[in-house]
């Protein structure tokens, strides 16, 4: 009984505030920038509600309650007070606060740099640790250390995209021919969801990614594992992968597959999502993705492999999943 009640209350709250939760919400903030901006929003929201009620209340008052015949002096004072003094004072204060947090939110990061490139419709993610010879290449998932500001460089393939993880901080556009930059300072470990925020064509809405925030030590261990080549199993799955020419587009370090057109698959199996944040990393989803990617993500460049039999698809998916 109590359980049922609790569930009912929970459902009620969820239905009311459904938009304010979840890994892609601004309100489930786990980054220093997002937390600061939520504070700014709360103050602005309260101010806006007060101003809205006062202004519309004043209008109601002068048209319904006390209609007219007030002194001209008072009326002119309303114009100067409401139209000039009030906005000057309120907006000066708001600008001073709002703009003062801008440099902090774009402060340069320490140590690690991450380069993210927006492709159609997935993310190329390269980690550039301090002093490393080359980048550690990954895709469609971003991992960041908690408690430290990380520099993020943004580039774009063919069209404009925008990189945004609402729980961690604001967005910055990715523009072909330019390198834009931003930085993020996650504070709470956990998984946050990012989404492309600039219309980029047919599958714009299906271009997401998980941002996994790890403790400093966990992150260092993860990055070391990510930098290592894959340990692919032998077997039929591997044979199918090379027979179908998957290596022309995808790289699996430690094998002859070295294509750079599609996402790097070296540690594919250890990712938390499939197809740029839109499918769970599960066998069934992977099979249907390989069979016909375009049916799931319209106009995706990956060709359909519907000619493979069910068992072949299953073997291939199993082999890919084992790339941890």
């Amino acid at each position: 009984m109590r359980r049922g009640q609790r569930a009912a209350v929970g459902l009620l709250i969820l239905s009311g505030a459904g938009g304010c939760h979840g890994p892609q919400s601004v309100f489930s903030a786990g980054g220093a920038d997002a937390i600061e901006l939520n504070r700014l929003f709360a103050v602005m929201l309260v101010g806006a509600v007060i101003l809205w009620i006062s202004l519309n209340g004043l209008f109601f008052h002068v048209t319904r309650r006390r209609t007219g015949h007030m002194s001209r002096k008072l009326a002119e004072a309303v114009i100067i007070g409401g139209g000039i003094l009030l906005p000057v004072v309120v907006l000066t204060a708001l600008l001073a606060w709002g703009l003062s947090i801008m440099p902090d939110q774009r402060a340069p990061g320490e140590g690690l740099r991450v380069r993210i490139t927006g492709e159609e419709w997935w993310w190329r993610v390269e980690y550039l640790p301090e002093g490393a010879a080359g980048p550690v290449i990954s895709a469609n998932e971003l991992r960041l250390p908690a408690g430290r500001r990380t520099e993020i460089e943004l580039q774009a393939g063919r069209v404009i995209h925008s990189f945004w993880v609402p729980g961690l901080g604001g967005k910055t556009d990715m523009i072909p021919g330019r390198t834009t930059r931003m930085s993020l300072e996650p504070v709470t470990p956990g998984t946050y969801r990012g989404q492309c925020a600039e219309f980029c064509g047919a599958s714009h809405a299906l271009m997401a990614l998980n941002a996994v925030v790890l403790e400093e030590g966990d992150f260092a261990r993860w990055l070391e594992a990510e930098a290592a080549p894959a340990r692919p199993e032998e077997g039929e799955g591997r044979a199918i992968f090379f027979r179908e020419g998957c290596g022309a587009c995808h790289t699996i370090r430690g094998t002859p597959a070295a294509g750079a057109v599609g996402p790097d698959l070296t540690h594919f199996g250890s990712r938390t999502s499939l197809a740029a944040g839109i499918l769970p990393m599960e066998r069934a989803a992977l099979v249907s993705w390989i069979a016909n990617a375009g049916a799931i993500k319209p106009e995706a460049q990956m060709p359909a492999f519907a000619h493979l039999s069910k068992t072949e698809l299953d073997r291939l998916a199993g082999w890919l999943e084992a790339l941890e």
Binding site: T63, V78, I101, G170, K171, I175, G177, E198, E299
Partner: protein, 463 residues
């Protein structure tokens, strides 16, 4: 020609200036009647199929308004279809391609085929009457503008029936839009160029109308506020549309002749388009909004039974808003990675617009305070419009703060900010539809029951 004609004419004779006695001499009634008949014949609406050759503002203005309304209904249908698609997750009601065509056309139609033309339509209908003129100075220019608008609008809107509509967003950002393989982008550029021409024609017409068609004795500092707003908006259109036309030309040259203005691989820059588009696009917001608040500026003193308080304040604010609106366009580009100094400047400039807007709103309140308010029907629309507009305006104050915009830019936070303001504009404008007592109103008043319903449900539904 003129000179020889003048020399042929009989020399003037008699006393000049005419004396009082000469002026009061009655005109023979037959002559007066014949003159009146000739005058009526000249101004008569053409009959039959010649009706479509009419150039008078009373006909052209009505066509303009009805056509803009029809385009709005089309855009509304597109919006409803999109909402059906978005009602449940993983819906396959619309394909991705068609959805993108719909949302591009919805935005483009509301912006270019409804909001701006509707202002022009209402001004073409109202302005001569408010100025005591028979018509606008260049009736054929109005008609030309209308036919341009109709052709361009049908061309753009019709493309959706052939599955060839533009699909790169109403903002048409390159490289996505320039590299688009279909005809859509070209249709957008060519069709909307017609509409840009129509807008500029209407702007020229209205500016000259305000400046040259006033009755004797109505100096600019005495003319109705509506005429002031029309003058400001006309000036804004003249300066805002050319950058867009320039952008369109560059864009079409890239698509048609492969000149790489926006192609980064060959030395172009996609951001160039964004600057050109938004230096048009931001003034556009006020091009939509000012004509609407202009109607409020006429209705409020009527309802208050009191001349407007702070006439000069309002005129200066309208001019100030028009001027400032050209210095804000970068707030549409806060996330493009521009330097922090630019962002700070454009944040402050965006907030500064609150001051002239506030002055206008508080001048209305001041007028209501001084006068003897009668809650006529249009005042309900004004109240609803104010409620919606202040909500849109206050969220606008929030998004003008650059770091906050980094979170909400391109999200559903912006959509209502933009739509509530347009809706407020619309509802101020609707107030005109039910007005009873603007001086020289050419329309019959409508029974007050008609308009009260929508004004009541407009505000809660949209805020």
């Amino acid at each position: 020609m003129t000179r020889s004609h003048a020399s042929d004419a009989p020399l003037p004779e008699g006393a000049f200036p005419p004396t009082e006695a000469m002026l009061s001499e009655p005109v023979p009634s037959a002559l007066a009647e014949a003159q009146a008949d000739r005058l009526r014949a000249v101004w008569a609406t053409p009959k039959g199929w010649r009706y479509w050759s009419a150039v008078n503002n009373s006909e052209v203005g009505v066509w303009y308004a009805l056509t803009a309304l029809a385009f709005m209904l089309c855009a509304g249908v597109l919006a409803l279809l999109m909402r059906v698609q978005l009602a449940v997750p993983d819906n396959d009601f619309l394909s991705a391609d068609r959805f993108n065509q719909f949302f591009t056309m919805h935005g483009s139609a509301m912006m270019f085929l409804f909001a701006v033309p509707m202002f022009e339509a209402i001004s073409i209908i109202l302005l001569p009457a408010l100025l005591g003129a028979r018509d606008l100075p260049f009736p054929r220019l109005s008609a030309y503008g209308y036919w341009c608008f109709l052709i361009g609008g049908v061309f753009v809107m019709g493309s959706i029936l052939f599955d060839a509509a533009p699909k790169s967003g109403w903002f048409m950002y390159p490289p996505l839009a320039t590299q688009d393989e279909g005809l859509g982008s070209d249709i957008w550029l060519l069709g909307l160029s017609f509409i840009e021409v129509a807008s500029i024609a209407a702007a020229v017409e209205l500016i000259v109308g305000v400046l040259k068609c006033r009755p004797p004795g109505m100096r600019v500092n005495l003319m109705p506020l509506y005429a002031w707003y029309v003058l400001v908006v006309g000036g804004m259109i003249l300066f805002a549309f050319p950058p867009l036309i320039a952008g369109d030309l560059l864009f079409e040259m890239e698509r048609g002749f492969d000149w790489p203005f926006f192609d980064p691989e060959r030395g172009g820059d996609p951001l160039l388009w964004q600057h050109l588009f938004w230096i048009f696009g931001h003034p556009e917001v006020y091009i939509i909004f000012l004509p609407s608040i202009a109607l409020a500026a006429m209705i409020v003193p009527t309802a208050a039974r009191q001349p407007i308080v702070g006439y000069s304040w309002i005129v200066l604010s309208a001019v100030g808003t028009g001027f400032l609106s050209f210095g804000l366009w970068v707030h549409h580009m806060f996330t493009t990675g521009l330097p922090a100094l630019s962002l700070g400047f454009f944040s402050a400039a965006s907030e500064a617009v609150v001051i002239p807007t506030g002055i206008q709103l508080f001048a209305f309140v001041a007028t209501l305070m001084v006068g003897r308010v009668k809650m006529i029907l249009p005042m309900l629309w004004i109240a609803g419009g104010l409620a919606v507009f202040t909500a849109g305006g206050l969220t606008g104050v929030m998004v003008a703060i650059a770091p906050f915009d980094w979170q909400v830019h391109d999200t559903y936070f912006i959509v209502p900010t933009c739509i509530t303001r347009s809706l407020a504009a619309w509802s101020f404008r609707s107030s005109r539809g039910s007005i009873t007592s603007i001086p020289s109103s050419p329309r019959r008043p409508c029974p007050s029951g008609w308009g009260a319903g929508p004004s009541g449900c407009c505000s809660p539904a949209s805020t």
